[in-house]
Amino acid sequence: MPEEKRIILKYADEPGYTRDIDCYLKHGGYEILKKAVKMEPDTIHKEVMDSGIRGRGGAGFPTGLKWKFLDRKSGKPIYLICNADESEPGTFKDKQVIYKDPHQLIEGMMISAFCIKAKQAFIYIRGEFFEGAKILEEAIEEARAKNFLGDNILGSGYSCDLVVHRGAGAYICGEETGLIESLEGKRPYPRIKPPYFPAVLGVYQCPTIVNNVETLCNVKHILDMGGAEYAKIGVPNNTGTRIWCVSGHVQKPGYYEFPCGKITMGEMINDVCGGLFPGRTLKAIIPGGSSAKVLRADERFQGKLKDGTEFDWSIWDIPLDFDSPMACGSMSGSGGIMVMDDTTDIVQALSNLNAFYAHESCGQCTPCREGVQWMRKVTKRMCNGDSREGDADLLLSIANQIEGRTVCAFGEAAAWPVQSFVKKFKDDFEAYSKKPVVSSECGDNQLV
């Protein structure tokens, strides 16, 4: 069984480890920041580039490259935002850091802020994490008292303050431009890109970097061990560790930190998570948060990786990194692995997801606003025992009319589950229409 390699969560669950600054300092906290403020920002940036780290929020965009796109010519102030709006169903990794080791995030953020020369940093935290927001605010006060943030940090001449901004309970605020609008005090309507790329026209129309909690924490460790050394963890183009959140029908659900690509789906589920419940067989896995396309248990995944090697995997063989789930037609997304065994009614599962997306669509652009609600109504009707012939095709058609035509990626996030569920489990959908069932087990899909 592959060993967990905990970098981000190194101390989080250690007995006796508390989230106050004294404990953090005892464990070597803020030493890296002290080192960082004496370095040239460009050197730090180079380390981040060398590390090859990719964003942990979902899209997997190279962090160093993102920072490089910052518009420095405009002369406008630069802002750093930590995206702590962890709302993707099946994901609960950032929460661990915020609740158990907040100073790690603050240190990572201040190093990053120093590197990009940010004038002000924000942590945009999910509205439901009210305890987390309190924890962060306390931690910020502690760090400010010790001059780890605020004016003239550690005598370096660099000043940057950090504030926590609570969301109001909307999934869309995880989309970076929606987050920025919300941070500005408006409805979180994602902005059109072009022209509003955050690195050029972000918060207050100034250059802005938005990074995930886990990403920013990693910056600290990159600087600690050096970019080249960090790049040795994991596999090429998929460096560092990732925190995977396993939920669903496994014996030991939870969060597990592993080097990228060094563990397969099978090892994760059967070894790390203790396997499925006795007597059950696997039906499907969603590998990267609810937006990722579902993988069917008996699928074979064949093709060519970017480096040219051919692969032929069963669902158990898929290496857990960025590129492999993508090569299988899905994505590693936010790292939320949802396991469904043979007791799962696939239509009801989709109905539940549709209810979520219909509830969370911001309503700004037409395809997502109307299409997602329509899909929800169809699957809900199916679950209520009024399934009709052609529902599966209709769902697929609606999803196709949404994908790629919306302001932000929510359109894809809502369309992909429907497309993959319907395509891969067409039999289940058709069985519904052939044998109308009147079900009372609609579960919790009455969100709206």
Binding site: R187, A358, E360, R369, R388, Q401
Partner: protein
């Protein structure tokens, strides 16, 4: 800004056809130049771009160049390869660059439009038979042009508020709303009264007014104009008339010297509504709510409808003759009005000259709003100056004339469209003179008149005004006036023709001929040749006058003074 022939253009390709367009405009406008329509709901040329309706999805590509060498990448046939964007893009936020290719017609685009149309209609009530927007509704138009023609939607529709009173003049039907946010942006960007917003989210998003304030500003009805569907309706016009019965007549708003371009919508001799007409040099696409109410004067109970000589009913010819005789035999003065059109003022000037009488003007000032309501609440002060009937700005009141009457220097008055008792004369003054009144509404002056010449409103006649930027703009007759009445220009022509040695021009066009011949500012112009958006006249001769207007949408006296200053210094 516009009609600038020397402006640089770039070459782009719309559906493969080369077109020259100004650089930087968006694909919707560029396609329009190429004669192609890219359908859109949320995009409005005078508002910011939000790109939320997704109706203007199109395909777009740029000529490919080798990343390393910068050389053009060529197709097999030697033409430059086009790098098409993998996903459809929205036309409203895509600004054209040199060599850009735009596809407005393709299978993919057709599918996108069908999809968006279907989505827009799934929760739409489809109540066109009782909807005021029917006939001028982009949902209807695009559904016909780009929709599938049938619905696959079998679920329940969302229910939203059907009749929300947003303000005194605007009623909202939320079920029809397509959430394009034009009205919200109008409030934020043009009217500067941010009172509308969305509540709820997703498919339940609902347009509403913030708690407390109302949509009650003087530009609220513009939200009705720009609403692409039947969500925002004019409370005044609601359920009154089907728009396809209405005739559109180009007109000019007489509310102030801005000269807002308007459309008058009428049917069978009755005006039903007034909407703004786009003119980027005057009012863009906006107008005031108060300006839209002005047509109610047409059917006012106080309307003057018959000619009278000393209280006896008369016909137009004899009344005009009697008026001319009266004026010629007395010691006459004229109170003309900057409400009169250019050609009416020209004939009034002729009358004044023939009589050797002075033409007095009274000013009508009020507060301006910095947008489309100027301080001068008459439409034609510049016209009066240009026709030469007066060389100075209208006076505060008629006290000078009052003195002349008291002194017996004036014993006959021709008052045109001005209630003299409102302007410094008392009824005692009116008793001392023989009074001829030309006007549309009953008032103290009309009651005191010895000869009454009923006139027509701006909706019932043709003519032209000169606005605060010295822009000559014409208006057209939308509805016939009361039976037996003549347009003012013919009536004044008759009065003029009855004066010794004077000829009645007999028609508007003949009056214009004389005007163009005699006054250099109008040289070469004819009524028919004035473009629909008006034409700029030279007002530099009057730059020293202290006009009352301050800055408004397209008028900036400070900037003009700056420009003029070096010339004056030289």
């Amino acid at each position: 800004m516009s009609n600038n022939g020397t402006q640089e253009t770039i070459e782009i390709f719309v559906d493969g056809v080369s077109v020259q367009v100004p650089p930087g405009i968006n694909a919707i406008e560029a396609a329009k130049i190429a004669g192609k329509e890219i359908p859109h709901y949320c995009y409005h040329p005078k508002l910011s771009v939000v790109g939320n309706c997704r109706m203007c999805l199109m395909e777009c590509g740029n000529p490919m160049r080798d990343r390393e060498t910068g050389d053009p990448v060529l197709e097999e046939d030697g033409s430059q390869k086009i790098g098409w964007f993998p996903k459809p893009v929205i036309g409203c936020s895509t600004n054209v660059g040199p060599g850009m290719h735009i596809k407005t017609e393709s299978e993919k685009i057709e599918d996108c439009r069908e999809g968006v149309m279907e989505f827009l209609l799934v929760n739409h009530p489809l109540d066109c038979p009782i909807c005021d927007q029917a006939g001028e509704c982009t949902l209807q138009e695009y559904a016909m042009d780009y929709g599938r023609g049938y619905s696959r939607y079998e679920e329940r529709k969302n229910v939203k508020p059907k009749r929300t009173r947003l303000g005194p003049r605007v009623t909202l039907d939320d079920e029809r709303c397509v959430l394009c946010s034009r009205c919200i942006r109008f409030g934020q960007e043009i009217a500067d009264k941010d009172v509308l917003g969305f509540i709820e989210r997703g498919s339940f998003s609902t347009l509403t007014c913030y708690p407390g304030p109302e949509l009650d500003h003087n530009y609220s009805l513009n939200t009705v104009d720009i609403c692409p569907v039947g969500a925002l309706t004019s409370t005044d016009f609601r359920f009154k008339m089907r728009v396809w019965f209405l005739k559109e007549t180009a007109s000019i708003c007489t509310e102030s010297s801005i000269g807002t371009n308007t459309l008058v919508w009428s049917r069978e001799g009755k005006v039903h509504r007034i909407t703004p007409r786009r003119n980027d040099d005057v009012n863009d696409t906006w107008m005031t709510d108060s300006g839209r109410q002005l047509f109610h004067q047409v059917e006012a109970d106080t309307r003057l409808k018959s000619f009278r000589i000393e209280s006896a009913s008369a016909d137009a010819t004899s009344a005009a003759k009697a008026a001319a005789n009266q004026l010629f035999t007395g010691k006459a003065a004229i109170v003309a009005s900057t409400h009169q059109s250019v050609e009416e003022l020209f004939l009034t000037r002729k009358i004044a000259e023939a009589l050797g009488a002075k033409a007095h003007f009274v000013r009508h000032l009020s507060e301006g709003d910095g947008l489309l309501l100027s301080e001068d609440r008459t439409p034609n002060t510049r016209g009066a100056l240009l026709t030469g009937i007066t060389g100075e700005l209208p006076a505060e009141n008629l006290s000078a004339l009052a003195k002349q009457i008291d002194a017996g220097e004036v014993d006959t008055l021709l008052a045109i469209h001005e209630d003299l008792t409102e302007s410094g004369l008392t009824s005692a003054h009116l008793d001392k003179v023989k009074l001829i009144y030309l006007g549309t509404q009953e008032n103290a002056t009309s009651q005191a008149a010895n000869i009454l010449l009923p006139g027509l409103t701006v909706f019932e006649k043709n003519g032209s005004f000169v606005n605060l930027n010295f822009r000559l703009q014409k208006f057209h007759q939308a509805v016939p006036g009361p039976a037996g009445l003549l347009p003012d220009v013919l009536l004044l022509g008759q009065v003029l023709g009855n004066l010794p040695g004077q000829a009645n021009p007999g028609s508007l066009n003949a009056a214009w001929e004389a005007l163009a011949n005699e006054i250099p500012a109008f040289e070469g112009l004819a009524y028919a040749s004035i473009p629909p958006v008006g034409t700029q006249l030279d007002g530099s001769a009057f730059s020293k006058l202290a006009f009352p207007e301050t800055k408004s949408l397209k008028f900036n006296p400070a900037a003009e003074k700056e420009e003029a200053a070096p010339a004056n210094a030289g």
